[in-house]
Amino acid sequence: MLKDITFGQYYSANSPIHRADPRMKIVLLITAIVFIFLSKNMYALLFSCVFVLAVLLISKVPFKIYLKNLKAILPILIFTAIINMFYSDGTANKLFSIWKLTVTDAGLYRAVFMATRIILLIFISSVLTYTTTPNDLTDALEKLLSPLKYIGLKTAVHTLAMMMTIALRFIPTLVEEAEKIMNAQKARGADFENGSLKDRAKALIPILIPLLISSVRRAYELAEAMECRCYNGGEGKTRMKQLRLKPMDYVICFITVLFCVGIILINLI
């Protein structure tokens, strides 16, 4: 049951997007999102669709996997669409009405428009998480946030990135540990499947307490091990894997810039 928890959505494949510099990917993702939201008319949105679909294809991650991601957000999507459907100004043509709510053509158009935008947003963001390992992501975030050190947050950026890395690293360990403890308590006759909601919540105590205790123990051990290796925060720390921009990164950057220019031009129509 715990094995179903997938974490880090990284999907291993060999595509130009997988190989691209994670810093570049984050910056370009943010840019692309901004411009998808700047699409004012239908043509611009259509152009965004084409762009996003192309990116999905290049990423070599099966489309099915992207759809899975969409499923999680479906309720929000439907909710937004419905709210938008009923929202319009007085000038629009009335199509039909339910109870006191009127649906107009402008409202319907807006609903479809908003839904498409959200779908595109989900797709393009999943490209980042599917093609970048969690470790690369935190490395890139640390690099991107490093300017913060000039405004007095010298150690904060590194500490934050280290915390993220450690948290990500220990999720599988904790899942494994939870499973072990669960089995041990089951062997002592604990029952997690039956009983009322209250009983079931109570049944979690024999898992949560040992898990908490072992996390604290692990944290102490890790801190000690890090200190033994002279860890003293980010200062003077070098990396084995240096992030360097490659020619391909510039190509990807150029394509994204083309997309942005395209959106601006189409918006003028």
Binding site: A184, Q185, A187, G189, P210, I213
Partner: protein, 287 residues
Amino acid sequence: MSVLEVKNLTHCYGGNTPFINDAVSDVSFTVESGEIIGIIGHTGSGKSTLVSHLNGLLKPTDGTVLIEEKDIWENPKEIRKIRSKVGLVFQYPEYQLFEETVFDDIAFGPKNMGLSGDELKKRVTEICEIIGIKPEYLEKSPFDLSGGEKRRVAIAGVMAMRPQIIVFDEPIAGLDPKGRQDIMKIISEYRKATGATVIIISHSMEDMAMFTDKLLVMSRGKLVIFDKTENVFKNGKELQKIGLNVPIVTRVFYKLKEMGIDVPLDVFTVEKAVEVLKNAKAGDRNA
């Protein structure tokens, strides 16, 4: 009567993923009541997966597990009853402690069986007497105990359910020699008091030679040998082939034989070695 029978047990992890993996494949064996069985094998040879089937924590992909000649999965709803018949003590069981007092923690298992009040108290005090946990410990917090004591309490927690079969997954891992002796002692005390069948997974060939009647040797998910302990150790070559070994004292005798000294090779415990050497000395004097 066979108290436990495993028939053609196969378990594969990751059923519908590309990472299909037979952790245990086609294992069959029978255990008679009151026997002490040792399970040896490499890390990852399927020992732990195998024992997780004995109390129904895992459901076999194929094959059956029979306790007292009844299939444990005959009625899946009753699987929790099997867990009080077959006790399973995991590796590092001290990590499963969670209650405020030692008493409450030992009582967790019996409580889950539906015991309460005086009956529950009797269970706990009885098991503490058998394995030597002093009454003043019962009110302490389990987290204030030393490592060895914690493990003893955790084992008591399983024993308090009075299982007829009790399985230990590496019960002495990470303990000092005194702690190891203590654990092995409480296992024999429990057995003496209840006549239970004991199954032990361990990497210590010395302990296996000392305590077990039969040995079950696993390699890559398959049962390779299941025989009387002395017969298994007599076939030292077979064990070495799959990366296991015979007790150190036996290796000493192999070496002596190589050096041209006439000694028997079926010496598996230190006691036996002392006896053999004494006899040899007496023989020398007589000659």
